[in-house]
């Protein structure tokens, strides 16, 4: 289990609320990935799905605060039956990005997404997770047959006229090197995507990942002597909205100490970087934004 440290740690101010995340599917997912940092699954009800009404309320507050962009994650966002009206309401106010495993992206849903995108001045971006070079790696983490199904979802998006970003964790061995990236882009081209987009994500050693590999070592913590740059940390410019209130970031929604209030306005205060995942963000320069 992750424990709060007793040593003093740096504090990050919210410089500007630019990014608002929605835990739109709660912790419910149609998969049970072995590296999920919040251990989402078909039975994890820790955070409930957000309703259109709840999202609308937050959007109204966010617009008044001058928020720049919106992200949607879960769980699997397309399990939320109100996801389309939610995205429609969002795209009236600003750009939206949806993080998905791609399994529910059938041609009909992709056509609806394309229509939403065409109807807005703002970008609707999709991010589909792939965890490896092929079914061998990916399916070991995400479940049998999921690689082929995700690729089908990606191709459906592409055929509908949308060009998703592929999010790949470092479990795809070698992905972080220039050659690794090149090779991965070639793989994506082989699926028919001629303008492949790629984002590599670090692993967070928490949630399900603690059992798959290992948790954080006790020394993987930030201390007072670490010089942090709030502009480079996503907690310096973003907040995460879940059914249980507003949290500092998408990674820490299982930690009551990371809950900063019940509304965005209540969550604008500084945050103490006491969690080992804060160490990963600082050291590896991670942001969940695209």
């Amino acid at each position: 289990m992750m424990e709060r440290q007793v040593r003093a740690c740096p504090t990050v101010p919210l410089i500007s609320l630019d990014t608002v995340w929605f835990q739109v599917a709660g912790t419910l997912c149609n998969l049970r990935c072995t590296h999920c940092f919040i251990a989402c699954s078909p039975r994890n009800h820790t955070h409930a799905m957000l309703s259109l009404e709840e999202v609308r309320r937050t959007l109204k507050e966010a617009a008044a605060l001058g928020v720049k962009e919106y992200y949607f994650t879960g769980g699997e966002p397309f399990m939320n039956r109100e996801i389309f009206p939610i995205l429609e309401a969002t795209l009236r106010l600003g750009p939206a990005t949806v993080l998905t495993n791609g399994l529910l992206l059938d041609p009909k849903r992709c056509a609806k997404l394309r229509a939403l995108d065409s109807g807005s001045d703002y970008s609707l971006d999709l991010r589909v997770s792939l965890d490896g070079w092929g079914p061998e790696d990916h399916d070991r983490i995400r479940g049998a047959g999921t690689f082929q199904r995700a690729v089908k979802g990606i191709q459906n998006l592409w055929e509908a006229g949308l060009n998703p970003v592929m999010t790949v964790t470092e479990l795809a061995v070698g992905i972080a090197s220039p050659e690794g990236r090149k090779r991965f882009l070639r793989t994506l081209r082989s699926f028919g995507l001629d303008k492949p987009r790629l984002k590599v994500l670090s692993l967070f050693r928490m949630g399900a990942e603690e059992n798959r590999d290992r948790g954080y070592y006790s020394w993987e913590r930030l201390t007072e002597s670490d010089v942090i740059d709030p502009e480079k940390l996503q907690c310096g410019s973003g907040r995460m909205v879940t059914s249980q209130g507003v949290f500092v970031c998408p990674l820490l929604i299982d930690h009551p100490e990371a809950r900063l209030g019940s509304t965005l306005s209540e969550s604008l205060r500084p945050f103490e970087l006491a969690f080992p995942s804060c160490y990963t963000c600082h050291v590896q320069g991670v942001t969940c934004r695209t």
Partner: protein
Amino acid sequence: MPESIAVFGGVYSNYLALEAVCRDAKGRGAEALFCLGDLGAFGPHPDRVLPVLERFQVASIQGNYEESLSQRHGDCNCGYTDPRDNHYARISYEYTSLKTSETTKDWMGTLPTQRRLDFGGRRVLMAHGSPRRINEFLWYSTSSASFLSRMLGTHQSDLLLVTHTGLHWHRKLGEDRDVVNVGVIGRPPNNGRPEVTYTLLTSGRDLRVEFVPVAYDHTRLAREMAEEKLPEEFIQTILTGWWTTCLEILPAKERALSRY
């Protein structure tokens, strides 16, 4: 107080386009010319830009290039996050830094980082990326109206002019409140045409914002780039009008309109 001004960014050492743009703007009656920074990068012979700026009395502010060059930084601080984008940014910066004289680098450090102007009663603020960060990318499809309104409020202005992204746009935020990305004149706006685009602003009861495409001797520029052994990818952009590098930073909508 001028009634018509021309504003552009990102000269990127394209002194031929710069000269064509300045002539065009004067011809259309622009009373003052402004550059929002990034005089160097991408193109050949960076030291040929300064004399043209002086000849046409273009008032410039610093871009991230001027900031980095004048402070003798090792990189351009362009703000890219993708390794492929950064690879080409590095080539560009190393060439420009090598070919820019020490005197010019010092001069770049004397340029202001922002400029304010009264334009027909509108409070204009000029910045490179954004008023809060020199290398912030403000794209049309990812800058919400509420965010831009907040920015105008925070920085006490009615008309904000920025560049940095390479793509021009205009967002009206209600009565007499506007944000304009004036675009760049160093390379085409990724539209498959070789012309570059600057912004002509005319004050009056309503603000008029025109994006003016300008043709110039781009084949000569391409030839000089080849002579300087600049990457073939850069030359192709000048010739075809399609970006071949720094594409990963583009948001979904802007990328969809892109050839590569």
